[in-house]
Every structure is written in structure tokens, then in C-alpha cells.
């Protein structure tokens, strides 16, 4: 028995119930904070969301495609958003991909030309005017994302950035057509609000008249139209 040497150990064991109570209370407080932030973010971004949804729907209806990307946890949230567009429960699937899906491409670009270009180079290879680029980030300033937006903007893509804090470089960049900023200092709370915003964006896209035509097959789609033809048709 070593209790006489470490009397505090027993006391701490008895503290287990207190710890569990503290953890549960902390979870509820953080969830409430997340909920409040998600509500205030949706309200603050309502106009931008409507604008982005209208343009995205117009592009999807004209054969445009969506490319999503991000770093770390945000890359997984961007992939979830691409998955939601591409295989949505109860809606028409739309062409959407995550640019982090292929490890061979990602590591080839990272190794050969530098990590900053892992997304920009993929857009050069795959994207055309009439497509859409969505990047999710908490800082709004990651070099690989701003490089990709520069490329996307130059190629006539519609660019949508998700950012946190004060919006970072996304908020002021001429390469970002619509920036959703989640005004928080917490990476976790920012990502939770961005996920909900992404879901609402997807919903709003499908509520656009252009999408309803696509769903019923009455819209003239031009999936193989040349970039020039499509950009002329849209601008």
C-alpha cells in the first residue's frame, strides 16, 4: 500500500464524478456557443449565400462543375461538401470533386512543384471557364488556396471562399467572388459553422429555378461545350 505516500490519488479517484459533470457541462456550453455562432453566421452570410447559390446554379445548369479543396480538417469538410453535391440524398447529383482525393496527384505536385501549387496545378489541368471553385479554410489565407483562387479566377471560374477570424486574405482578394466569413477565433467553432453554411449553400443551389429545370431534364445542358462557348453564354 502506498496510499500514505500519495493520499491525493484516492481523493482524485473520488473526483471522477465531478470531472464527468464538468465535462458534460463544458460540452453543453461549447455546443451552445457553436449553435449561436452558426445562427449568427447564417444571418450575416444570407445575402452572400443567395448570390453564390444563384451563380452556382446558373453554372451547373450550363454544364459547369464544382472543385472543392482545403487543408487538414478543412480539406475533409470540403470533401464532405463535394460529396453532398455529387451524391446528395434526395436531390439530383451534380458534378463535384474534392481536389484532395488523389494522393498520387497531391504528392506528385507537392514534391515536384511545391505544396503551394497542389490545387492550382490541378485546376490548370481540369478546370474551365464556367466551373466553380470552393475552398474551405479557417484562416482564409493559406498560400495553396490563394494560389488556386488566383488561377481559378484567371480561368473564368466562379470562386467561393470559406474563412474564419476576420476573413484573412479571402475577404479582400479580387480573386474571391464570394467570401463567407465565420467571425470566430476558434478553429473548431469556425469549421462547425462552415459545414452548416456549406449545407445551406447546397440547399439554396437546389432551390434555384435553373436547378429545378435540370432536375426535370427540361434544361439544355452543354456538358461538352467548349469553354469559350460556355463563357460567352454566361457573361
Amino acid at each position: 500500500m502506498t496510499d500514505f505516500l500519495y493520499p491525493f490519488l484516492d481523493a482524485q479517484e473520488r473526483d471522477q464524478d465531478a470531472l464527468l459533470r464538468d465535462l458534460a457541462a463544458s460540452a453543453r456550453a461549447k455546443a451552445a456557443e457553436s449553435g449561436a455562432l452558426r445562427a449568427s453566421t447564417l444571418a450575416a452570410c444570407a445575402d452572400a449565400l443567395a448570390r453564390a447559390a444563384a451563380e452556382m446554379a446558373r453554372r451547373f445548369a450550363a454544364g459547369g462543375r464544382l472543385f472543392c479543396f482545403g487543408n487538414g480538417g478543412s480539406s475533409t469538410d470540403a470533401t464532405t461538401l463535394a460529396d453532398l453535391f455529387a451524391r446528395p440524398p434526395g436531390h439530383v447529383p451534380l458534378p463535384a470533386w474534392s481536389l484532395t482525393a488523389d494522393q498520387a496527384i497531391l504528392t506528385a505536385l507537392g514534391n515536384d512543384v511545391g505544396f503551394e501549387l497542389v490545387f492550382a496545378r490541378q485546376l490548370i489541368a481540369r478546370a474551365a471557364a464556367g466551373d466553380i471553385a470552393v475552398a474551405m479554410s479557417t484562416s482564409g489565407s493559406s498560400a495553396d488556396l490563394t494560389a488556386a483562387f488566383r488561377e481559378a479566377h484567371a480561368r473564368g471560374l466562379f470562386t467561393v471562399g470559406f474563412a474564419g477570424y476576420d476573413g484573412g486574405r479571402f475577404a479582400t482578394s479580387p480573386d474571391v467572388d464570394v467570401c463567407f466569413t465565420v467571425a470566430s477565433q476558434s478553429v473548431h467553432r469556425i469549421q462547425e459553422a462552415q459545414a452548416l453554411l456549406g449545407h445551406r449553400l447546397w440547399q439554396a443551389v437546389h432551390e434555384e429555378p435553373a436547378m429545378r429545370e435540370l432536375a426535370t431534364g427540361s434544361s439544355a445542358q452543354h456538358p461538352i461545350a467548349s469553354p469559350t462557348e460556355r463563357s460567352e453564354g454566361e457573361r
Binding site: 465535462l23 460540452a27 453543453r28 455546443a31 449553435g35 470533401t79 434526395g90 474534392s98 469549421q191 459553422a193
Partner: protein
């Protein structure tokens, strides 16, 4: 999920799951994550623990299990004492199969999901959002749950005196053995939480590799069917 609410029961479940996860990590566990229908969630959980967003927090071993056969991936990856976390609906066949085998691999199980709930006992800790919306996995509801799991687990690390594992459960009073889940590896060889052991399968023969049995006192006393 109603924005901004976490009911008392779910908060208590999260707290209990976090303490168990912290204890397992403290004892050397790896966290294995799977989310067959929404794979990015498994990767998000893994990156959360491996590369914490808060500087100074300990990096912990967590891995996303992906690919066509998650049972095979889990079987070869999971070691006794590890934790398996699934993010999936209650009807996901691969997740159900992995989680019912996990006790034979010696793993603790956590299940995050939404919609209809899995049957009682399907996982050690079930963290559930009852909203039936099939698009709920893309609303951030799960992200909130595993963010909280990460945050609370790290709070537990601030209480090292509470990180020791608790005593094992009750045992048979005649032979001091438990009824333990085992997965047949080969004839007469069964994998349980204690490792691969010699077990008589006379009472349940014929058995094939992968079959689940209940082991008591060196004997497989019954089959455990899905």
C-alpha cells in the same frame, strides 16, 4: 440537430466516452476511425488527434480506416486496448460487423451517427443525433460531436490521477473466468481480448475463420451470430 442544443443525456455520453478515450490513450491505445458512407469524417477525426489545432496539445495516434474491406482492415490493424470509432448510420453493414467483432480484438467502441439508433449494446459508447435528415452528416452536427470528443479528451489529460483504467468486470465465481467474445482464427485457435489462445470448439463445431464465439474456461460454449 437543433442548432445550439446538446441534451443532458448526449452531453453525459460524450463526457463518459471522452474519459474512456483519454484512459485508453494514456495506456498506449491507437484510435481507429471508420466512416464508410462519409469517409471524410474518419479523416477529420484522425487529423484532429494527430495534429491538434491548439499548439501544445499532445499529438495522439489516430488513423482513418478506409478501403473496400473494413473488417479485414480492422482485424489486421486493431490491437488489444485500442479504440474503434465509427461515424455511420445504424444500418451500415460494415460498421455493424466491425463493431460486433471489436470486443474480440480487445477494442473499446464508439459510434457517432444520426437517424434511427443502433440496438442497445452495439457499441460501448453511442453518441447519437436523432434527426432523421439523410443529409445531416453534411451539416456539421457530427463535426461538432467529434470536436467536443477531442476537446473533452484533452481536458481529461489535465487530470492524470483519473486516467488509470478501472478494475475489470465481474467473473465466474467457480472458475474465475469471464464469458469472453472470441473470433476464430484457425481450428482450435481463437482471438480474444487477451490474445490468440487455444480453445476447444467441440461444442460449436464446425467453425470457420472469422466466426464469433463465446469463450469460457478454454471452451467455445456458443456461437455469436450477427
Amino acid at each position: 440537430m437543433t442548432v445550439g442544443t446538446l441534451d443532458q443525456e448526449l452531453a453525459a455520453d460524450l463526457a463518459a466516452a471522452s474519459l474512456v478515450l483519454a484512459r485508453r490513450f494514456a495506456a498506449g491505445a491507437t484510435l481507429w476511425c471508420l466512416a464508410p458512407s462519409w469517409e471524410p469524417h474518419a479523416q477529420h477525426v484522425a487529423v484532429e488527434f494527430v495534429h491538434p489545432v491548439i499548439v501544445g496539445k499532445k499529438a495522439l495516434p489516430a488513423v482513418a480506416l478506409t478501403g473496400p474491406d473494413l473488417v479485414a482492415a480492422g482485424r489486421v490493424s486493431v490491437r488489444a486496448g485500442d479504440v474503434v470509432l465509427a461515424v455511420a448510420g445504424a444500418d451500415d453493414p460494415q460498421v455493424r460487423d466491425v463493431l460486433r467483432r471489436a470486443p474480440a480484438w480487445g477494442a473499446t467502441t464508439l459510434w457517432i451517427g444520426s437517424g434511427g439508433r443502433p440496438p442497445p449494446g452495439a457499441a460501448d459508447h453511442v453518441l447519437w443525433l436523432d434527426d432523421p435528415d439523410p443529409a445531416l452528416p453534411a451539416t456539421g452536427g457530427f463535426v461538432l460531436l467529434y470536436h467536443l470528443l477531442w476537446e473533452l479528451t484533452h481536458v481529461c489529460f489535465e487530470h492524470p490521477g483519473l486516467l488509470t483504467e478501472q478494475a475489470p468486470g465481474s467473473v465466474c465465481i467457480t472458475c474465475s473466468d469471464e464469458g469472453r467474445l472470441g473470433e476464430v482464427v484457425a481450428p482450435g485457435r481463437v482471438r480474444t481480448a487477451g490474445g490468440v489462445e487455444d480453445v476447444s470448439t467441440l461444442l460449436v463445431d464446425p467453425v470457420a475463420p472469422g466466426d464469433l464465439v463465446l469463450v469460457h474456461a478454454g471452451t467455445a460454449i456458443t456461437r455469436v451470430d450477427p
